[in-house]
């Protein structure tokens, strides 16, 4: 239950705005302590990043606001998005390797397949 309320707090617009401002100004004034975060504070920060990223995707129309109706929706979308990001990174790394092989002596050397 505690987790649910932690999420609801992190999801609030005024809290997210405060978080974005603190992040932009590189000064964390969210808690009274500036260092040695408790695990609960750590979880709260993770949720702030989580909802901030979710809201960015909503603004960029990568997903509809419907995602915020349910914690299961939120988790599932975040899982999908992270998988897609990882896939894109792997693809772009492969692409870079191929480009590197091309540019060396103007001959095509195919990279070895990943085992």
């Amino acid at each position: 239950m505690l987790d649910t309320y932690l999420r609801k707090l992190a999801k609030r617009t005024e809290i997210l705005n405060l978080f974005t401002a603190a992040k932009d100004m590189n000064c964390f004034e969210l808690f009274e302590n500036k260092k040695d975060l408790s695990k609960l504070q750590d979880s709260f920060l993770s949720y702030l990043y989580f909802y901030s990223s979710l809201n960015n995707d909503i603004s960029a129309r990568r997903v509809s606001e419907k995602v915020l109706l349910d914690e299961i929706f939120e988790n599932a979308y975040a899982y999908y998005r992270n998988n897609m990001k990882e896939k894109t990174e792997i693809d772009s790394n492969k692409q870079r390797t191929i480009q590197g092989v091309f540019s060396k002596d103007n001959t095509i050397k195919f990279p070895k397949e990943d085992k």
């Binding site: 309320y5 408790s38 695990k39 899982y79 999908y80």
Partner: protein, 214 residues
């Protein structure tokens, strides 16, 4: 009939307001818990504080943990998790099979999460979203059942004994009491702390868990 309908709507509205108020109260409480890295509370007219351990206390914890591990190893009645698993196997209880079922359920939950996430990104109708959601709830319920079952079976392993002891030791080390406006360690020994009122011990354990383990 119309009157009954109106009363039902009224009851629903009251329930909604009460739920919202309760939710606001809970969110306020959570907000209090995270405002800093300490939790202060009152118990039987005394002021207590649960806080993070300092470097010296972490060393103290490490020392008592190692001492306890040595004691547990010498105890012939307490088995290491791997030996307990073998003992169960001889009695026909297969924990490795349970682990494989847990792994399989986790994989199924991940696959359903991916499908639901993809569906959300592609905005189909609500019915398909709810179908995936129900499937995730169902699989998560099964996963919890198996995890609890595994936890019960290995409750008496050496590792579990040690983990419980460490949680108690942290609770004892991180608890302060206010004496004449100064915070001092609440109890001089772990045993003395463990002999206190269960309500106090459980409350400290819960707060300690929030600060150190979450």
């Amino acid at each position: 009939m119309e009157q009954l309908k109106k009363e039902k709507i009224h009851d629903d509205e009251v329930k909604k307001i009460l739920d919202t108020m309760s939710e606001e109260y809970q969110i306020d409480k959570v907000s209090e818990l995270i405002k800093d890295n300490k939790i202060e509370f009152e118990f039987e007219e005394k002021q207590y504080r649960v806080r993070l351990l300092n470097a010296k206390e972490k060393d103290e914890l490490d020392m008592v943990r190692r001492r306890k591990f040595g004691q547990l190893l010498k105890d012939k009645d307490i088995l290491l998790e791997k030996d307990l698993i073998i003992a169960y196997q001889e009695k026909g209880i297969d924990i490795e099979d349970l682990d494989s079922k847990i792994k399989n359920l986790n994989a199924q939950i991940e696959a359903q999460n991916y499908k639901l996430g993809e569906a959300l990104a592609k905005s189909p109708g609500d019915s398909i979203l709810n179908t995936y959601k129900k499937e995730i709830i169902n699989l998560t319920y099964k996963l919890h059942e198996l995890t609890i079952q595994r936890g019960h079976l290995l409750e008496y392993s050496l590792e579990n004994h040690l983990q419980n002891f460490v949680a108690q030791a942290i609770s004892y080390l991180c608890l302060d009491i206010k004496v004449e406006d100064k915070w001092v360690r609440a109890f001089d020994k772990l045993d003395t702390f463990m002999e206190q009122d269960d309500r106090l011990v459980n409350l400290v354990a819960m707060y300690s868990l929030y600060l150190h383990y979450r």
